[in-house]
Amino acid sequence: MTAMATRIQERASGPSFLQTFLSRHGGMMPTFAAVGILLLLFVGAEIFLRGDFITPRNISALLLDNAYLLVLAVGMTFVILTGGIDLSVGSVMAFSGILGAKLLADGVPAVVAVPAMLLGGAAIGLMIGILVQYFDVQPFIASLAGLFLGRGLAYVVSLSSIKVEESSLLWLQSTRIRLGDWYITPTGLIALGTVAIAAFVLHLTRFGRTVYAIGGSEQSARLMGLKVARAKVGVYVISGLCGGLAGLVLTAYSGAGYPRNGIGTELDAIAAVVIGGTILTGGRGYVIGSMIGVFVYGTIKTIISFMGAEQSWMQIIVGALLLLFIVVQRAIVARSEGRR
């Protein structure tokens, strides 16, 4: 009786714009918060550093310096949206990078080496996905195996760093497409392209919607007849592929493959995704948010190096920020559960 009455009432009075907006887009709030923090960081840095922070050069460099992390964060977003986690991305990136550098150094043409890097990443992702989906292994443990495997294989390829001489790869980094003082490199374009493709897949394909549905309730998704197995394996393959791509970007950026690259980078990627408003239990979040998260991360890093502070502050601040976001998310989730 009561429900019916309230429902009619609700329609009679007509929900306000704000109510409608909140009932439709409440899940976006954490992402808006991330945008807020990014703006706050920009403004704060601009004031404290007396106006030479927000410059075209700095902003352009932000994308350039963090392109690899952006690519990783995109892959991580897929995984976290299903409620999983992928610890392997840093190692996969290192493996892919050193594999590419080695192949190129051995005279393999780039048209072969680059696909090999991507496939290498995707293969590790596939292994993780199969373990998670078909052997009921927790994502944490399965991707832990991926982490060990990627790191070990990186050292198997080479114990030391390998310089890249291949011009087409270096071109990705050295080319600067300029617009006034602004510039973007092909690696930056790759990263932005990855974001765009991911946004398309997540919001405009059934695969993408299945990813969200699994994060909401895997059992429901299965009972609704969605292709859960395919999507669950798929997100890890995508994350592995992104790991491979990040290896390509990082190798181009640093001009070398190095098996020690990306130790702990998986944590940075997870932190960026969470700061960008994706909820770790899955089902809520946006890949655009992850991009914002990466920029927040990169901006903090830039500010710290501007201020000449020790890099150890970086870890502490990112940790604190992560904590802040987690507590906020926790409050949001608790509230939305309370409403039901």
Partner: protein, 511 residues
């Protein structure tokens, strides 16, 4: 309108047998479902209703027998297979995604596409059209989680319609709905029936079964008892078929409601103005020594909320509790247990048993928690207590080392009862202790409550089955809309009177 028997059936299950380790879950069961009928599947817990549904929806593989849908023999391996064949299921715990919009939940997996991507505008329009056709006018772009369970259930049914389901299985859809919401659901069901959809309905509420069904199939212990048209099967006959014997176990139970209670002294426990904003309006409650106080009211009326506040499971923001006349701080279950108050939750599996521990460990858990972790209850004492209660309550299997998760609902409930009795409480709060358990266990538990209260234990007894409340309790507190509306002496009121009071008291026609 009852469907004509001449209509060719949409689902024909013949000779279905399913075996689990040590159990014959279904033994050669036939089941027929015809288009345009509402067909109720009835049986006690453990009769095989769920197993039969799961066989039909591809969740369980059948050991022998055949399933034909629209005359064609089918084997389903997954829920998706069954859906493709036009069989959709709506479960009691809504199986949708709360993180997505209403419209998306309706259309998920069937969104119209354009130019390689989902056409959201068309998707929302399509969803709105389907919702309109069943009379649900809510914003398809609002989040599913912002709606009540009743609405979510309707959304699930609408989704089934998008899949063009020819068979709709409703598994206990009404258990968390209020009266008005049930009416609304039934309207939708009637509408679907008139469109030729075959509906398989499962509910524990006999009234609802008789209100909506055209036909009833009764199962008992995994075997088919019979299929009947609703008008040919009176209620008592149905109950007899379900249970397989007259209700003798329950009928011969000694009533404890007539026992005289001395209320002149100090109550064992007394709550004054106990409440919490948005959860329960401040309410008073007193329980005297040896008294059984029933709490009656519909689901969601605040009866569970009241006892949870009393027990400290949730924290009250108003009122106080007195134990034996002295003010007592009860802010957590620990405090309550220190005051020798015990509470058995209505949610046996999530809030009661610890499934992966043994029967013995579960029984001892309460005692051990009370003693603290440092002093372990000696093995000898543990064994003695466990043996005593397994015997006294008739826990089956009588194996202290069996994992509780493998026991039936009734036996899990007995283990919980044992856990609490072992802590020697002065007040025992039982929230729906007999829900979803078989008649034998039900009788055992009622008998035990009656017996213990005659020995001086105070009990608060909550149940949806009002007969049970009236049989056990000397006094009944009635709740409605998160408020206590009154108290009745159970010798002064009969079942109809109590129902009337729950429904109407305070609105002019109080009992």
């Amino acid at each position: 309108m009852p469907a004509d028997t001449e209509v060719p059936p949409i689902v024909e299950m013949r000779g279905i047998t399913i075996r689990f380790p040590g159990v014959l879950a279904l033994d050669n069961v036939d089941f027929t479902l015809r288009p345009g009928e509402v067909h109720s599947l009835m049986g006690e817990n453990g009769a095989g209703k769920s197993t039969l549904i799961k066989a039909l929806t591809g969740v369980y593989a059948i050991d022998s027998g055949t399933i034909a849908v629209a005359g064609e023999r089918r084997t389903f391996h997954t829920a998706a297979d069954a859906q493709e064949a036009g069989i959709s299921t709506v479960y009691q715990e809504v199986n949708l995604c709360a993180n997505l919009t209403v419209g998306e939940n309706v259309m998920l997996g069937h969104e119209p596409r354009r130019g390689g991507g989902i056409d959201w505008r068309a998707t929302q329009k399509e969803a709105a059209r389907h919702m309109e056709s069943l009379g649900l006018a809510i914003d398809p772009r609002s989040m599913l989680s912002s709606h009540s369970i009743a609405i979510q259930q309707l959304v699930a049914i609408i989704r089934a319609m998008v899949l063009e389901a020819k068979v709709l299985i409703l598994d206990e859809p009404t258990s968390s709905l209020d009266r008005g919401e049930v009416e609304q659901l039934f309207e939708v069901i009637r509408d679907l029936r008139s469109k030729g959809v075959a509906i398989l309905f499962v509910s524990h509420f006999l009234d609802q079964v008789y209100e909506i069904s055209d036909r009833i199939t009764v199962l008992r212990n995994g075997t088919l008892v019979g299929e009947h048209l609703i008008e040919e099967l009176p209620r008592d006959a149905l109950v007899t078929k379900m249970i397989g014997r007259e209700l003798e176990d329950l009928a011969t139970l000694e009533k404890s409601s007539h026992r005289a209670i001395d209320r002149s002294g100090t109550p064992v426990v007394r709550a004054e103005g106990l409440g919490k904003r948005g959860v329960l309006e401040p309410a008073d409650l007193e329980v005297y020594e040896g008294e059984v106080v029933g709490i009656a009211g519909l689901l969601g009326s605040g009866r569970t909320e009241l006892v949870r506040l009393l027990y400290g499971a949730d924290r009250p923001d108003a009122g106080q509790v007195e134990v034996q006349g002295a003010h007592a701080k009860v802010h957590s279950p620990r405090h309550a247990i220190d005051q020798r108050i015990s509470f058995s939750s209505e949610n046996r599996r999530a809030e009661g048993v610890v499934a992966d521990l043994t029967v013995a460990e579960n029984i001892v858990l309460g005692m051990q928690a009370r003693q603290g972790w440092v002093r372990k209850v000696p093995k000898k004492d543990q064994d003695a207590v466990v043996a005593e209660y397994i015997e006294a309550l008739g826990v089956r299997p009588a194996n202290p080392q069996a994992l509780v998760g493998n026991l039936s609902g009734g036996n899990q409930q007995k283990v919980l009862l044992a856990r609490w009795l072992a802590t020697a409480p002065q007040l025992l709060i039982l929230d729906e202790p007999t829900r979803g358990i078989d008649v034998g266990a039900k009788a055992d538990i009622q008998k035990k409550v009656s017996e213990l209260s005659s020995q001086g234990l105070s009990v608060i007894f909550i149940s949806s089955e009002l007969e049970e409340v009236l049989r056990l309790a000397q006094r009944v507190a009635v709740m409605r809309d998160r408020r206590k509306i009154g108290e009745l002496d159970s010798t002064q009121v009969d079942l109809d009177g109590l129902i009337d009071y729950i429904a109407n008291a305070g609105e002019g026609s109080a009992a």
